[in-house]
Amino acid sequence: MFKFAPLGPQISVYEGNAHDSYVNEEEMDWDDDLVGNKTGIVAPGQTITSVTEFMRGHGTFADGDEVAATVAGTLQRVNKLLSVKPIRSRYVPEIGDLVVARIVEVQPKRWKVDANGRQDAVLMLSSVNLPGGIQRRKLESDELQMRAFFEEGDLLVAEVQAFFMDGAMSLHTRSLRYGKLRNGQLVTVPPILIKRLKSHFCALTCGVDVILGVNGYVWVCKHVKENEQVGEDGFNAESVYSNKNDYIDTSTRLAIIRVTNVVKVLAQYYVSITDVTINHAYDWVVETGHEPTDLLHEDVAEALIQAITIS
């Protein structure tokens, strides 16, 4: 029941094969002057280049005549602009990103939302679906019952719509796929591990839905069948903004736990998290007959990472 272990570093960064790095080598014809032309990985203070014609972007500084990195991360080059994308940072939003976020405050005509960025995001009352039809102007009565839509602590899935002057992101949930989240649990991972995919709503083969927020919040929940999706036949505000979970059987709950632990292990070893890697890892867990809790042990986690990165 109580197990002890000598204390090591909290996260052992997975030193994967070269093809696991986030830099697509084929797109980059590295000049020989740039370091890290194999992996594209640089460490803080490391000289990137001594050629003066490059421009210094984010994550770099001028070290005499040389360009050096200020953060650990992957080197990126756009024409003559060099920048380093940090391995660990807060979420840097881009318009169109799908994010999972949590309401922290209800304000006049808007919600303050935690989306793992440097600043709180904003969700305007005018950018949510209002009851009684999708396209209609907001009324005073809507303003008075904002907590009926979202209250403090609620999780939602939304899209980054625009930026404010100060760089804060503005979200919107004007789609039937977006809105309040129910029937599952949240996992937090480093945002760099979530690539921008074609779709971030993933229905896994094991009958669990995963929403991969680009901001590093991953929502694991019970699968909702396409034809049972809320609001398909006309918008039903009561079910969209409901706080009640559906009935979830034990096997689904177990599958959700297994997916959660798989995502945690992938994040711990810094493997990028996509529907493919999760499915692959999940299948490995089922094939090898491991219980969900086994993934919390280091040796099983390492075996899992070995198995999914080699093939």
Binding site: F2, A5, G153, L155, L186
Partner: protein, 333 residues
């Protein structure tokens, strides 16, 4: 981790826990602990007399013990312990400075009230605190070690009370008290100059040496000792007496039908009631009951009195297992 949980998340956690079999969000059983990481000694705080670092999941606490010589009153007669808990701002990034202060004070007072000797409930003088504070005495009524126990909460991902007490226990068990020897100024039987009693000179004759030995021993009790000297360097010394009795805390997160141990941050928020139990055990091998050293009931929930006594008994069982697991790590028999 975010501060709040949505209502749907809370009800998901509660429903999973109360289903059959009970499920937790990471698949652990209700009374399963996360892996406990332990580091101690010089790798944690080289300048402390004893130190340890414990990590359970994302919760991390460092504790260190520092001994300092203090002048004491005749009535007090023994060493004291001063506890202090600091929370790193990174542990509670969403809280204001005042709220963090509150948490720090709360944890400090819990530690201090557990570790400071209270004569009232300790009639036979047999408790951990009284045994420990006696062993901290250098010269009775004059000088004693004051034990400064400092703990830093580096991060909190749930179950901070248990981890804090584990770290403190590990640090106290790791502490070595420098051996001291009382010295007094005695008139030598021969010769006119005063000399320090503890000194051993090569030129001394056997008779004189025996005299000195006698005075040195006697002076421990006869309050004539003027001063003391260290027998060995700061790194050496004996273990703290009664260190095996140092208490641990076990937090039961109570739902109406069941309870869970080692709750994560999310579970702590979903479960309405936390019961922190602090136990000390004389020796694990004997079937002797643990000494109940403290209890805290936290959270807005309620629990019937009849149910509570059962919880306390179960808490003792868990505490016993936790202590024996830690003792193996700390090489305490």
């Amino acid at each position: 981790m975010a501060t709040l949980l949505s209502r749907a998340e809370k009800s998901y956690i509660i429903t999973s826990l109360t289903s059959k079999p009970p499920l937790r969000h990471d698949g652990r059983g209700p009374v399963d602990y996360r892996l406990i990481g332990l580091a101690r000694g010089d790798s944690v705080a080289p300048l402390a007399n004893g130190s340890a670092k414990i990590r359970v999941g994302g919760t991390e606490v460092v504790a260190a013990v520092r001994l300092e010589v203090e002048d004491i009153d005749l009535e007090l007669d023994e060493g004291r312990m001063r506890c202090n808990v600091t929370c790193s701002p990174a542990a509670y990034p969403h809280l204001s400075a005042n709220q963090q202060d509150d948490i720090q004070k709360d944890l400090t007072s819990l530690l201090q009230s557990t570790f400071s000797p209270t004569k009232s409930h300790d009639s036979n003088g047999d408790s951990f605190t009284s045994v420990m504070s006696k062993s901290l005495t250098i010269l009775p009524g004059r000088k004693a070690w004051t034990m400064y126990l400092d703990a830093v909460v580096l991060s909190d991902a749930g179950n901070v009370h248990d981890v804090l007490f584990l770290a403190c226990r590990a640090a106290i068990c790791d502490t070595r008290v420098p051996r001291t020897r009382a010295v007094e100024y005695a008139q030598p039987s021969k010769g006119s100059s005063t000399r320090r009693a503890g000194e051993t000179g090569g030129e001394m004759d056997v008779e004189e040496e025996a005299d000195i030995w006698k005075t040195a021993v006697q002076s421990k009790r006869a309050a004539r000792a003027a001063d003391f000297e260290l027998e060995d360097t700061a790194d050496e010394g004996g273990w703290l007496e009664g260190r095996e009795r140092c208490p641990v805390a076990v937090t039961l997160n109570v739902l109406p039908t069941m309870h869970i141990l080692d709750a994560t941050h999310a579970e702590e928020q979903a479960v309405p009631l936390k019961l922190v139990l602090i136990y000390s055990f004389a020796t694990i091998s004997t079937q002797k009951e643990g000494e109940f050293m403290g209890m805290r009931l936290l959270g807005p929930g309620q629990v019937p009195m009849a149910y509570l006594s059962g919880l306390i008994q179960e808490g003792e069982t868990y505490a016993k297992q936790l202590v024996s697991a830690l003792n193996v790590q700390m090489e305490i028999k």
